[in-house]
Amino acid sequence: MSVLVYTESENGKLKKAALEVASYAKAVADAIGGNVTAVSINSDNNDDLANYGVHKSLEVSDEKLQKFNADAYAEVITQAAKKVDAKVVVISQSANAKYLAPLLSINLNAAYASNVVDVPKTDNEFTVERTAFTNKAFNHTSLSTDVKILGLSNNAFGLKESKAEMTKEDFSAELGDDHFKINVESVDKNTDKVSIADAEVVVSGGRGLKDPKNWGMIEDLADVLGAATACSKPVSDMGWRPHSEHVGQTGKPVASNLYIAIGISGAIQHLAGISASKTKVVINTDDEAPFFKAADYGIVGDAFEVVPKLIEKLKDFKANNA
């Protein structure tokens, strides 16, 4: 039985998330007894997939697919899934993957489980564990269709090396005008900064920072750590920071390795959205702030004193551990 994984690339380079979904697909294939085939679109070099258990790499290169287009990409994955007779299709939970997943589900008559955090159990029914109620709970969901689509939460599985003999094959999907009915007019992407979705570390600021002018130190801290910057909802509502930085239940989810909250009280809606992060640090003047109940490490102190010191110490640390 075959597992198909969609391995995403950006500017021709495989994303780290691609290696994670490949690792996960290998674990799924082991559970159901089968091999992993990867499908990639305009990715220059897929050699690395062999280190994560991929058996066959289907490689699409098509000028028309330079820009992401959900319908066309879903169609490519659909045709790849049919070609290898995939029983399970694995995708990430990037913005693009979430966009194309429901289209793929209808194309393949396949049940789709999103926000999956573990390898499926197949003893009886096919069930996966996923997060629900924005991380306030887990839900065991069974999927009853012949073909199934699993969307793996970012950072939920990690990278697991497993060497495979990988064959490569050019693959071209048949696409009609019908798959390009949505036109991408312009893309405005910050290329020199890591996005919240892809970041290992996220540095986040709240209303406790008092003024948008004080974000310099947040950016500096993020720079030292190679982190993305984020903020609480009121901070974006007041226009101190762009909406795209708003994290939490009604903003972006965060599932980074490290989340540092500065001047954020830890309201239930904020915590729900960031709780999938592995290690959480809080810096807050108020030792009663609810964030201390959710954090792994905390400093009770004034951000304006603590953060500059932290930046200096981290610079030393990075210099010594480079």
Partner: protein, 248 residues
């Protein structure tokens, strides 16, 4: 322009989440239900189209009778009429099938749904709906303009934004940004009075079988105590993050 706004009826964001019947059902006891926040932004944007461009706005929910106060609220905010598909929503596919029927019966030009329902976080209903009815689909939509039969939308991508154009009929998965938080409409007394007289049509479901089933729920394991580090001892924090948490 005929607009349909899809509304998911969800627990208020401050709700304590508990389960009953051996952890197989969400415990609605004492839970306050609201319009899904993503749908609230979409509904307000629909009101803008109604006021500025002369659209009609219907709202729809798939749910039992207990969801009626939530759609009445949407009427109080200004929607013209409401439809309730009388079915218990069990998964995204089933909901999308029910909505597809409503969408086809009403031949809407624009269908505004939310990026995600904050209860089951499926993130699938709008895309499935679009594919089922053969409409265009734009997800994580943070800005939407419509001129004649052409829409211009801004979509949030990881690390940026993208501007897209598409012809109607169009389905969007909307979110904050469609309108500003401060522009969200809150029902006033007059709106609430008027809502009582507006039509709320209950329709029979097509009764599609769901493809997935929520078998069991679990709450996250309780968290250990936070380790406090003295503000004068940043080295200790760095040491913990490096050696203990292996996070840096």
């Amino acid at each position: 322009m005929k607009i349909l706004v899809c509304i998911s009826h969800v627990p208020d964001t401050t709700s304590k989440i508990n389960f009953t019947e051996n952890d197989t059902k969400f415990d609605t006891n004492g839970v306050q239900f609201v319009i899904n926040p993503n749908d609230e932004f979409g509904l307000t944007r629909a009101m803008w189209f109604k006021e500025k461009q002369g659209a009609t706005v219907d709202v729809v929910t798939v749910g039992d009778k207990s969801t009626e106060p939530t759609i009445r609220k949407a009427l109080a905010i200004g929607a013209d009429s409401a439809i309730r598909v009388d079915a218990e929503p069990l998964d995204g596919f089933q909901v999308a099938k029910e909505l597809a029927k409503v969408a086809q019966d009403g031949s809407y030009d624009l269908i505004i749904a939310g990026r995600e329902s904050i209860d089951y976080n499926g993130g699938m209903v709008p895309g499935m709906l679009a594919k089922l009815i053969g409409a265009n689909f734009i997800n994580t939509c943070v800005s939407l303009e419509v001129e004649d039969d052409k829409a211009t939308a801004v979509r949030e991508i990881d690390g940026g934004k993208e501007t897209l154009t598409a012809n109607l009929p169009l389905v969007i998965g909307g979110q904050k940004g469609l309108v500003e938080e401060s522009d969200l409409k809150i029902p006033n007394m007059r709106g609430i009075m008027m809502a009582r007289k507006k039509p709320l049509k209950v329709v029979e479901p097509v009764a599609e079988t769901p493809l997935t089933k929520a078998e069991k729920f679990e709450k996250p394991a309780p968290k250990g105590e936070v380790k406090l580090v003295d503000a004068d001892n940043i080295d200790e924090l760095i040491d913990l993050l490096h050696n203990e948490a292996k996070a840096i």
